[in-house]
Symmetry: C2
């Protein structure tokens, strides 16, 4: 597949190329240039971008895609009711086939919001991977290991590596610990040893709620970051999801171990977990990216919402309107997300990197006038501005239509059936 | 104009009518019913809603539409720089014609976000009103009186009443005080006397920032709500915009005087003003509605963002995920907004009321599955779900197209020219 875009305002993730050309070939960027070389190639499609913006895709660096069946089913309730009445007993009923269809639904929403990759911590991983491969969407996929996984842990992980490692270039596998509070020290140590033997990073929920931190201090005499690092979990780096309630020591620990943070501000608001001190984390030199978390706790999968919150909440809580510049937020949602997940060929639009990018429609009222195109995206943008999402050189979403190898109405209907069955309607 | 909608899921603002019929005639609701009466009428259009939602339009209860020329021009900067370097000197250059075209641009965005009315506090009011009438959009329009208006105040206000009172049913005029901190006591008293002589409510910015409240206490020995009420400003009710930093006395005062609150959570975040205690205000019995504020401080004009923030910020700051139920938020954005502005024929979808309603597309991934349609709107919805906006019985927006009596590209181009001229590019 070869695509040519011309007359585009390209933000590569670093610089601007105005009135530019962008060519793709075999899933990679072949050319980014302000001038059009005098070459004719056998394009599959030549697309006049009409002055619209082309930017790297958004990277949804923390997700639980199959939870989409619980959307709007578990709102406005206390966390314990949410978790123990709505989530856990219902998740237990999910089959691999359910997870396949639910992931396909989530992917549609990701594409319409300009994402080309999600990172799913869940179970029935092979079904999730298959849904991605069949849709032409990327995933950085991982188990959320809990104490229950201790028996046969190595076998489980090795099996994941073998199975998911063969799914092709759209699927990356990582190691995941659900959280300190759902684990035994034995299990954490076993996972850490496995990670060390494979030289792999580990991703985990961390310091999402105040009570989680207090519980860890009670159990282990240390906060989650410090405790988990001491177990050797981050010897090859990793990611801390949420990190809403960090201590200064926690921040230093993550910095020392090269652990990135993925913040999920909308979920943190809706579940009343709090507001993560993102400016402080960034100023401390941590790499901070963004994720939507699962659709039961957000409830939408929309990076525009996360971007506005990432900066807006800092401005308000610090009483400082200069906190986290709009352009920095855009990098968190694109460049830094790829870097957090070790997807170094997905961070920017450069020759030789993977062809993941979106076209943003500036010919809509919320993007007019053009005083500053990037800040328009962060402060005024919406998923309605996403004209096109290209994943690995293939147009998967364009102007309200999905090109994912399956009928959209069939995906909707399958997922409604799953929700109705599990919720016993 | 007569419209018939069938096969709709109608939320009237009070109840659900499933699989319902909605008829309009001459700008009013003629029928809302679960069964289709056996009558044939000379419909201008019969529309199969395909099970989509029909709900009352959103009411943007606080706006400064012409400020759209400053979108993304004044971000990430300290409030004083924003106000004195970016806003005031540039606003001074706006002509009536500028305000006309800028308002037309803002109206496009309002319509695409499901609004049928904005309430503009600004200047060059007749141009704003004309832009609305020409677009078929409503406005509740008002001066933001400052100390500078003291000379000839009565004449100015009487002229407004005469001029804007003749603009037809889409335009309502109200009295407005810019704020305590931009006024002299003499001017406030003169406006209060005028309001009393006309038995009119007064709308004003109030307690938006901490320093504003502290300044008022220093100047007058009382907080803005208490001070302004004592001057007789709210003898016939009114609206307090923002109300981010109220005291218990302030809340009681507004309650006693029947003054509504319009909260603008996105603007309050972006300008670092703070987070208004909406749950406390609601629990105290105040009527609380939502507004976008101006596009220079938000920067988008999108009620979906405001709704998520209205509840999400309360949940997080109170550490209570049950704070402000999703359905209550939807009423703030629709029903309570109309009631705050005294538009009693616009609050709900009922026979005899004005035909202002929107159709929400549930056949998009972010609205699937349907576990709770109203919470889908509040927690997962986006302006991309607005299929159609009907104002006064006329379809003004449908599926990305605008029916506002003017070419959209011409509006864009006029506004870009205005921005370029004023910003000296």
């Amino acid at each position: 597949m070869m695509l040519r875009f011309y007359n585009a305002r390209i933000w590569t993730g670093k610089d601007f190329v105005d009135g530019g050309e962008l060519w793709t070939e075999d899933g990679k960027i072949k050319l980014v240039s302000q001038v059009s070389p005098l070459i004719l190639l056998p394009w599959d499609r030549e697309i006049d971008a009409k002055g619209n913006l082309i930017i790297p895709t958004f990277k949804n660096s923390h997700a639980h895609s199959p939870m989409v069946f619980l959307r709007s089913q578990a709102d406005d309730m206390a966390l314990n009711d949410w978790l123990f009445k709505q989530v856990f007993p219902r998740e237990a009923k999910l089959t691999p086939d359910d997870c396949y269809w639910l992931t396909r639904l989530a992917i549609l929403e990701y594409l319409s919001s300009g994402m080309s990759v999600a990172s799913d911590m869940y179970f029935h991983l092979e079904s999730i991977a298959d849904a991605c491969v069949d849709s032409g969407f990327r995933n950085v996929i991982l188990q959320g290991i809990t104490a229950n996984n201790l028996q046969g842990l190595e076998k489980l992980l090795q099996n994941d590596i073998d199975t998911l490692g063969s799914k092709g270039e759209l699927i990356n596998y990582r190691l995941g610990l659900h959280a300190e509070y759902t684990n035994s020290e034995e299990c954490i140590k076993a996972l850490a040893n496995f990670a060390k033997s494979k030289k792999m990073p580990v991703y985990t929920h961390m310091s999402e709620t105040k009570s989680e931190v207090e519980g860890c201090v009670e159990r282990h005499g240390a906060t989650p970051a410090v405790y988990l690092a001491k177990q050797g979990l981050f010897d090859f780096g990793g990611i801390a999801y949420h990190f809403v309630h960090p201590t200064d020591d926690d921040i230093k620990t993550l910095k020392d171990y090269g652990v990135s943070v993925v913040s999920c501000p909308a979920s943190n608001l809706k579940l009343a977990s709090g507001i993560a001190p993102l400016k402080k984390l960034i100023d401390s030199g941590l790499n901070v990216a963004l994720g939507t978390d699962g659709p039961a706790s957000n409830n939408c999968l929309d990076m525009f919402r996360e971007m506005f919150l990432a900066t807006g909440l800092q401005k308000a809580t610090l009483a400082d309107p200069t906190a986290i510049d709009g352009e920095e937020v855009l990098k968190m949602a694109t460049v830094y997300g790829a870097q957090a997940m070790g997807l170094d060929d997905l961070d920017t639009i450069e020759i030789g990197k993977r062809a993941d990018f979106i076209m943003i429609d500036i010919h809509q009222p919320n993007m007019q006038p053009i005083n500053n195109a990037l800040k328009n995206i962060v402060y005024a943008g919406s998923k309605s501005n996403v004209l096109m999402t290209v994943v690995n050189g293939v147009i998967r979403y364009e102007n309200g239509e999905y090109f994912v190898g399956e009928d959209v109405d069939k995906i909707f209907s399958k997922c409604q059936q799953i929700a109705d069955r599990i919720l016993e309607r």
